[in-house]
């Protein structure tokens, strides 16, 4: 049963990705003006343009182009970047790792502090701690994440000079291998500001979920009983109430991963974090459309995989879903 469900979801994902790829193909070709200007630099001389168009098959009919485009995308061949002057595939590797690491760090911090914060809010329910504490995530949710990022840069980077203002490692830092590249103090030092800023932005959701789920549990008899047994309030909160309130939080966590992957663009751009999201912006600004197109497809695949994961987790936790 579960295997069949999984297979069906994977098939659905493949179908969706095909649709996304088709939309991307159409988006980049059916726009006003000369569509090839998005694929071959329009400032090239006419003869050179014609040659390039021919070499990339852009002078062939649309349906033929579409088929070659799909065949290439499946093999991971996304064409040639004007800006880097190299195949797109060669530049994406590090960016995928960088984006994933930032997303994972954000995920970890968001749920660690979100859950702890939610427990505190529920615990102090009805006191000023709760009413002020519930407002804080609302404000960070309403603040554009790039603006919070700018504030952090102004204070912690430019004024106090505690943290670097851009990038992923200090210039001139040479790592001897991939492991050292990412497991180093220098990397963590660069990671902290962007991860904290996106955490502040996302933290509100798990925090309020935990708070509300815990409040619903407060009236239950097992809570009274635990208190009557003379347990400390902290033990009641963490060992008993939180445990029962965690299910909606876990399911939201799986959905969150997909969301964080797609929504990370602005944070990456603000902190010059060399990931997929920042590259979409840079490529769009540079009119380097083969790169923008590839990054968009990669992000869509990432989001799709995360949503698949979310469905699997959800199905595992709530068996009713599996049967549908």
């Amino acid at each position: 049963m579960r295997v069949r469900y999984l297979l069906r979801r994977i098939l659905q994902l493949a179908l969706t990705m095909w649709l996304v790829a088709t939309i991307v193909f159409l988006m980049f070709r059916l726009i006003p003006g000369d569509p090839t200007s998005t694929l071959v630099d329009p400032t090239f001389p006419a003869s050179l343009r014609a040659e390039i168009l021919h070499r990339f098959g852009l002078d062939r009919p649309l349906h033929e182009q579409y088929l070659t485009y799909l065949a290439r995308a499946v093999r991971g061949d996304f064409g040639w970047s004007f800006y880097y002057n190299s195949p797109v595939v060669e530049i994406v590797g590090d960016m995928i790792i960088n984006t994933l690491l930032l997303a994972l760090a954000t995920f970890f911090l968001t749920y660690l502090f979100g859950i702890l914060g939610g427990v505190v809010l529920a615990w102090k329910h009805g006191t000023p701690v709760d009413s002020v504490g519930s407002l804080v995530p609302l404000v960070f949710r309403a603040a554009p994440v790039f603006w919070t990022g700018m504030l952090f840069l102004m204070v912690f980077s430019y004024r106090l000079d505690w943290f670097p203002h851009a990038g992923i490692r200090t210039a001139g830092y040479a790592a001897t291998n991939l492991f050292q590249k990412y497991v180093s103090l220098d990397f963590l030092w660069h990671l902290l500001l962007p991860a904290v800023v996106s955490t502040l932005y996302y933290m509100g959701l798990p925090m309020l979920l935990v708070r509300n789920a815990m409040l619903e549990n407060f009236g239950e008899e097992y809570v009274e009983f635990a208190r009557a047994r003379g347990m400390s309030e902290a033990r009641v909160m963490f060992r008993h109430v939180l445990r029962n309130a965690l299910l909606p939080v876990v399911t939201s966590a799986a959905v969150f991963l997909g969301l964080a992957l797609g929504g990370q663009i602005v944070v990456e751009y603000t902190f010059s974090w060399p990931g997929l999201g920042r590259e979409i912006v840079m490529a769009t600004q540079r009119r380097d459309y083969p790169v923008a197109q590839a990054m968009f497809l990669l992000l869509a695949v990432g989001v799709g995989l995360m949503n698949l994961l979310a469905d699997m987790v959800y199905g595992y936790l709530d068996p009713r879903v599996r049967l549908q």
């Binding site: 309403a142 554009p144 430019y158 992957l261």
Partner: protein
């Protein structure tokens, strides 16, 4: 809960409420608690600022100002002449913040209106007619969920030429997905209610039932999504402008922050960074507060507990 309110609700539950009772309950809830009143006041204030912008501005927001000694007033801190200081080109920041409210409100309300209308229509049609119509429309919703939102808006806007209208269109093209899914679920449960069955037996056509019996009942949910949508649209527009892909001829809070960021002036010109950011937060929090009380209205369970 006031007695009028509960009477209204009882009446509503019995007959399937008319548009007028619905709006009456909504009005009472909106003005019941302080945070909602604050939210509405803030939104009204911003609307007034946007309407009265020409009167409120102290300066042409594009004008390059000079100091008394003739040099360009680059990055002057707040002063009597420039209440919120100046940009790197000597432009008056206070006037830019004032005129920026227009872009924010325009994008916020139009994009939210479009997403709500599209999302609600899809939801009502899918939910009421069911069958293959429902299947088809819900697959489209699934597909819309598979497209990463911000990247889509950025690329589409840059391909179509950056302009406020295109930002609104790009937001509306994807954002309707969330309201469609939730409102459809509501329509599915409404369809089986006795008064709707009665209407059907009495010979009412599908469109009449949708207009008179379904739509008034999903209106609160639709308004909840509208309220949330206004906030999201404002944040999305400011993000697109911040990334340098907004309309170059329009001053928005996001484009102000983009310049403060890309010119590096943010390192010391706090007066350029704080005002647009606070404006966004204030306006978006206000829409969230209003949204929260609409949610209480849309979800009667929340009304019992306070």
């Amino acid at each position: 809960m006031s007695r009028n309110l509960s009477e209204g609700l009882t009446l509503a539950a019995a007959t399937g409420p008319s548009w007028r009772t619905r709006l009456g309950i909504l009005r009472r809830i909106l003005f019941r608690d302080l945070s909602t009143a604050v939210g509405i006041t803030v939104i009204v204030l911003f609307v007034l600022v946007a309407l009265l912008a020409p009167v409120l501005m102290t300066d042409d927001p594009w004008a390059i100002n000079r100091r008394p000694n003739g040099t360009i007033a680059r990055l002057d801190p707040p002063s009597r002449a420039h209440w919120l200081g100046t940009t790197d080109l000597g432009r008056d920041i206070y006037s830019q913040v004032v005129v920026g409210s227009r872009a924010a409100l325009l994008v916020g309300f139009l994009a939210a209106l479009m997403t709500t209308v599209v999302g609600t229509s899809v939801a009502v049609i899918a939910g009421y007619f069911g069958g293959w119509v429902d299947d088809l429309l819900m697959r489209v919703v699934d597909f819309a969920y598979a497209v990463p939102f911000v990247p889509f808006v950025i690329i589409l806007v840059s391909l179509l030429k950056p302009s406020l209208a295109n930002v609104i269109i790009a937001i509306a093209l994807l954002y309707w997905r969330s309201s469609a899914r939730v409102i459809r679920a509501q329509v599915l449960s409404l369809r089986e209610r006795p008064y709707i069955k009665a209407a059907r037996v009495a010979g009412a056509g599908p469109w009449r039932i949708i207009y008179h019996h379904i739509t008034p009942n999903i209106l609160p949910l639709a308004m909840l999504y509208m309220a949330i949508g206004v906030g999201w649209a404002i944040i999305t527009e400011s993000s697109v402008s911040f990334l340098g892909l907004g309309d170059p001829l329009v001053i928005s809070w996001g484009s102000m922050l983009n310049l403060a960021f890309t010119t590096g002036a943010m390192q010391r010109a706090w007066w350029w960074v704080l005002p647009p950011g606070f404006s966004i937060i204030l306006l978006v929090v206000a829409t969230f507060l209003v949204g929260r009380s609409v949610e209480e209205y849309a979800n009667p369970r929340l009304r019992g507990e306070v």
